[in-house]
Amino acid sequence: MGQNTGPTPDTATPQAVLKEFGAGFARVAASYERNAALREELLQEISLAVVTALPSLKDPARLRAFVFRIAHNCAVRHAVRNMRLRRTEGEYAAGAEKTVPPSGEDSDNRQERLMEAVRSLKLPYRQVITLLLEGLSYDEIARAAGISVSNVGVRINRAKAELKALLTHE
């Protein structure tokens, strides 16, 4: 974890960046947006924002923290902006409904349960756990989220405890 093996700004064509981080961006988008059409829209926003911002990256070693910070920033903005169109705050607001689909054996169901559980976490915990699951080190998570490394540890522990409670709850 934490080793940056992806493209550097010198070699980071949009195609290379999307190949390396596209799936991660899709997971970040899914962790914020349940609606498939809006998720697709968010994914495009993230891709565009990352590709546009790439020339401003100064330290290639920080590429992963850089792109995931942009992805989360886009997602936060998307969550707030789309609230205008929604009647309730259920999906994003504090203490969002903690309903996870019932457990099942097939892989799709397990992924859906996991994503729903991640979505129901409060934003500060959702961000650190998704970054951790993407393989970022505590240092990179701290840079991406703009918090101290010790705070990363605290948030990750709380996020893990909440996730475990949600996923083991029948």
Partner: protein
């Protein structure tokens, strides 16, 4: 949870997490289609302003040539307002793509500030409606007192203004409600960050 339990739990959900994939070739294709959108939007902002400025110049010319108060007032609005709003529009578009420097929490605080500013603008929107109504009243007073003779054109202008007002008032109310909801969301999410 012990460290070992933690690691097992994380490894388990990590496997499921990474199975959620994406079609990066399709993403790249979509990106190629949308990549130039910001530049096109910027160009549209500038072109729109230039077009309105051009119409303003034409109105000013008509006002001078025909000694028309109606054209003079319209020219004043068109020459002053669109160029004044252009820098703000360009800056907003530019800022909307710069996400590398802020942290997610800062994005929320920025969103809150923008939402509150937009709410204040919505209040100004009510004043704009009043200005349009006063402007129409002034034109009609000028017409009926013989200060100007715009005739049929004034009727058309009045009709268009009334249609705009009829559409603008409910839209403004909808926007105020939506912005209030957005502000509440920002406040809730910021409270989550403060508590974390």
């Amino acid at each position: 949870m012990s460290d070992e339990q933690n690691d097992r739990f994380l490894a388990g959900i990590g496997d499921n997490w990474r199975r959620i994939g994406a079609d990066h070739a399709r993403m790249h294709q979509q990106l190629r289609r949308t990549r130039h959108l910001p530049r096109l939007l910027r160009l549209a902002d500038i072109s729109g302003t230039l077009a309105l400025f051009g119409v303003g110049c034409w109105f000013a010319w008509e006002a001078i040539a025909g000694q028309s108060v109606f054209f003079a007032l319209s020219a004043l609005v068109l020459l002053a307002v669109p160029p004044a709003l252009l820098p703000a529009a360009l800056r907003a578009r530019k800022d909307s793509l710069v996400w590398a420097d802020e942290t997610p929490e800062e994005v929320l605080r920025m969103s809150l500030a923008r939402t509150e500013a937009a709410l204040r603008m919505a209040v100004l929107g009510q004043w704009k409606m009043i200005v349009i109504q006063v402007f129409l009243a002034v034109l009609w007073i000028a017409e009926t007192t013989g200060l100007m003779q715009a005739g049929e054109f004034l009727n058309l202008y009045t009709l268009i203004s009334l249609v705009i007002l009829a559409a603008y008032a409910p839209w403004l109310e909808w926007r105020r409600t939506a912005l209030s909801r957005e502000r509440d969301t920002c406040l809730n999410l910021i409270a989550d960050f403060d508590a974390a």
